[in-house]
């Protein structure tokens, strides 16, 4: 019984991690610009992230290590420092995107410019991490995250036709014009779906919750169910944008246009539902991201870590996320368009994915760590293929997007 509850909870918590500024921004832009056409990118990313999350849970169960810790031990500090540095840099950009998302939501609700919200939001985020335990952070974001189900409700209210939707989900297509932007969005969607912090966070959570062999099956169910649940919502955002914004010819340049997408389904309340969803999803992701980055830092250098420890018991850990939040708030304060920042952060995520995923795959096949729980050849292939494909596409499309947007 306790395990069933745990599985349900795990699935619900995954939404908190899944739907964030990245998914909302990329899906809204993709739907408004290309209709259903980019649904395949969400599907591809989701398949990959299901495998990766399941693996990181299985790795924690079988080896007792977190991923970062194991990469250091297996490949050495000198090798770890490369993916670590790249991940921290990208995490910082993504954290700034999430903070920016919360700030824009507050701007939309109050009319007060988003930059003015940067400091209050950052302080609220920091205070919660400073005083709360892991369970509060995890379950609180999960419960609040359920508000984002309104996008799924909207898909039904608006009466999306299932056949073209299903086709776009399985068959990738290339539009006649704006190919460069299409490719860039595809890459950003994949980057938003396969966020490295997601599976790094998940493996740290499995260690904090002391998972043993009896969790192998629940782990599989949580990874699959949770990621599918999350993917469903981010697909719903895309579909709603395709149904409401595209016919009106509304291009999503910022969140203020995206905020209109729920109005046809829910009227004036639609606007507030979007604002609340954006704020909650981004705040939840910001919590997980700050923690995930502090975990990565502590595990890289061998510090005391754990959200259940009081700050004075893990001073370096606490200092790490504090510094991280301060830096992210400074980025928001520069006044960069939060949606543009988000899209670029997601595309860069796709570029650096192989740096973490490839060493991780090597570990997943190492019997000294995994014993009989090593990867099947099939899951190795799937993950390696998707990640390498995304990285190559990202390297091609980022320069094109920069040239194209000028």
């Amino acid at each position: 019984m306790k395990k069933i509850l745990g599985i349900a909870l795990g699935i619900v918590t995954s939404i908190g991690g899944f739907l964030d500024a990245g998914s909302i921004a990329t899906s809204a832009q993709a739907g408004a610009a290309f209709g259903y056409a980019l649904l395949w990118a969400v599907a591809l990313g989701t398949i990959c992230v299901i495998f990766l999350v399941e693996m990181s849970g299985r790795f924690a169960i079988a080896s007792g290590h977190t991923i970062t810790d194991a990469i250091r031990k297996r490949f050495g500090f000198a090798v770890l420092i490369v993916p670590f540095g790249a991940t921290m840099l990208v995490n910082l950009l993504v954290l700034a995107s999430e903070l920016g998302g919360v700030c824009v939501a507050l701007e939309l609700a109050t009319g007060i410019g988003f930059q003015l919200w940067a400091i209050p939001v950052a302080v609220a985020l920091w205070l919660l991490l400073w005083v709360a335990t892991f369970d509060v952070v995890e379950e609180g974001t999960a419960l609040l995250g359920l508000v984002t189900l309104c996008f799924v409700v909207a898909v039904f209210t608006l009466g999306a036709e299932p056949v073209p939707l299903a086709r776009a989900l399985v068959v990738p297509s290339l539009p006649a014009d704006e190919r460069a932007h299409y490719l860039f969005l595809a890459v950003s969607i994949i980057g938003a779906t396969i966020a490295p912090y997601l599976f790094l966070f998940y493996s740290s959570g499995a260690i904090e919750d002391k998972w043993d062999k009896s969790y192998l099956m629940p782990n599989r169910m949580i990874a699959t169910g949770g990621m599918l649940f999350g993917a469903m919502i981010s697909m719903a955002v895309l579909v709603v944008a395709a149904l409401t914004l595209k016919p009106e010819g509304i291009r999503v340049e910022g969140y203020e246009q995206a905020a209109l997408m729920l109005v046809p389904a829910f009227g004036r309340w639609g606007f507030y539902l979007f604002v609340v969803s954006l704020a909650v999803a981004c705040f939840g992701a910001a919590l997980e991201l700050s923690l995930a980055s502090a975990y990565a830092m502590a595990q890289t250098f061998g510090w005391n870590w754990g959200e259940d420890l009081k700050p004075r018991q893990a001073a370096r850990f606490g200092t790490a996320y504090t510094a991280f939040i301060v830096l992210a708030a400074l980025i928001v304060l520069t006044g960069l368009n939060p949606m543009k920042l988000t899209l670029f952060s997601m595309a860069i995520t796709a570029v650096i994915l192989p740096l973490t995923v490839v060493p991780f795959l090597v570990l997943m096949n190492d019997r000294r760590y995994m014993k009989e729980h090593v990867n099947s050849r099939f899951s190795n292939m799937i993950v390696a293929l998707i990640v390498l494909l995304a990285a190559v596409l990202a390297l091609v499309s980022i320069p094109l997007e920069i040239v194209g947007s000028k």
Binding site: S63, H65, F77, W130, F301, G302, W303, P311, R312, A315
Partner: protein
Amino acid sequence: MSKPKDIELVRDVLDTQVLGRKKRPMGKVDGVGLELRDGAPPRVAYFEIDGVTAWRRLGERYGRWAARVARWWRHTEPYRFGWSQVRDLGIDLEIDVDAERTCALDLERWLRERFVARLPGGRR
């Protein structure tokens, strides 16, 4: 308590998480010191926990930078321990030492006193 009979220094020991008493994380094995002897094979003299040592493995220059930064928290010498203090070597390396009393936690203590204690809730 288990110490394997046969270990490979680089594979099994270097970069391994070090735990003190009560499983308190102390850092990682950043270096291994060998003692050279006439007419006998070299012998492991000590293991070292020290960020500066780790950065020096990336290059002399990084080591110098790390040493300069570490001076802020008055960290001047590496923490060293011998094989006799090792209680367990598996996923982690456990040693029979009170972590709090060692210089391996110089930065932790410095941040706790200078930074964490001055913030609200930091003294709890």
